[in-house]
């Protein structure tokens, strides 16, 4: 099975090289005439007046956390999505599997609804 990934490995190397090559070419072929004004951060012509690394709205963290949770949930469902049709065909505990997954989903849907109601998904 690993041999399927041999092309992936080769492609990864090629893609990395392919992404680096233009940068190198650009560096070689393009001019390099640095100038303090040119190299200063762009701020619509204004002088940058404070550090760019500012603290951000906590909502971004919340979105990222929720994303992790839902992403995990999706990852948990992949194997189910792959075997469920076969399991139905074989009649192998299909309804038990259905119940298991629906309980799993129900728990998280309740969490999702509660979040919605609490305003965690609002972007003000």
């Amino acid at each position: 099975m690993v041999e399927n990934y041999f092309p992936v490995f080769v492609f990864l190397v090629v893609a990395l090289l392919f992404s680096m090559a233009p940068l190198l070419l650009g560096r070689l072929l393009g001019p390099s005439r640095p100038d303090p004004e040119k190299l200063s951060p762009y701020e619509c012509g204004f002088e940058p007046f404070e550090d760019a690394r500012i603290r951000f709205d906590v909502r971004y963290y919340l979105i990222a956390i929720l994303f992790i949770l839902f992403d995990l949930e999706i990852a948990f469902l992949f194997p189910w999505a792959v075997v469920f049709k076969d399991m139905i065909a074989e009649g192998a505990h299909a309804f038990y599997v259905f119940g298991t997954v629906m309980v799993f989903l129900a728990v998280l849907v309740i969490g999702y609804i509660v979040e919605w109601k609490n305003g965690a998904l609002d972007w003000e």
Binding site: Y60, A64, I65, L69, V82, V83, F84, V107, I110
Partner: protein, 198 residues
């Protein structure tokens, strides 16, 4: 040397180097990115162990989601790295001692019989899908831990919302649903006035 072995050592070396980077690099953002590299190369190693589903999930979940949150947090905090490093030298002896003990134990175990006998897992046929194998047991034999995972995710959800969510009072928020529902009649009232005469 077999090609797979070469790839293993390549990714193993990247993983170790990046792991060292995580703890040695001064800038926390660089450290977080090194951690990304560690996850990525570990995924490659898992793939070599024929754990296709787990390897890709590692990338999907850890690299694609967890580390994004890490970066969000690290990028937005102005951490004074030098202050964090205070006490580094005074704690070093103890740290080294613990590390040395761990290394010795690891060497003892890893050079022991079990791991010397252990060979790489038997190669799976080209069309084998371990996603399917996982699917066949996860929702039946392992349904109990599976549901526990759902409950733990729920705990995380409740905790995240109750600890981070705060309503801001100073924003003027427009609810798009309300906006859409508006009818012309709500905004405009046509009244008829009798014409006035001088």
């Amino acid at each position: 040397m077999e090609f797979q072995t070469v790839v293993f050592y390549l990714f193993g070396a990247i993983a170790v180097a990046a792991a060292l980077g995580v703890i040695l690099v001064r800038n926390p953002v660089h450290a977080a990115l090194c951690l990304v590299l560690v996850f990525f190369s570990s995924a490659a190693i898992w793939l070599l162990l024929e754990a296709e589903f787990l390897a890709i999930t590692l990338v999907l979940v850890y690299v694609g989601a967890v580390m994004v949150l890490f970066l969000f947090v690290v990028m937005m905090l102005d951490i004074n790295v030098d202050r964090l490093r205070e006490g580094f030298w005074s704690n070093l002896p103890l740290g080294l001692l613990v590390a040395a003990v761990l290394v010795v134990e690891m060497l003892l175990v890893l050079t022991g019989d079990v791991f010397r006998q252990a060979s790489s897992p038997p190669a799976l046929p080209t069309d084998a899908s371990n996603t399917e194998s996982i699917g066949r047991v996860l929702y039946t034999l392992y349904s109990y831990p599976f549901e526990l995972a759902a409950m733990i995710l729920l705990v995380a959800m409740v905790a995240a919302v109750s600890l981070t969510l705060r309503k801001r009072k100073d924003v003027r928020y427009l609810d798009p649903a309300e906006q859409v529902k508006v009818k012309a009649a709500d905004r405009l009232r046509v009244i008829s006035m009798p014409a006035e005469k001088e």
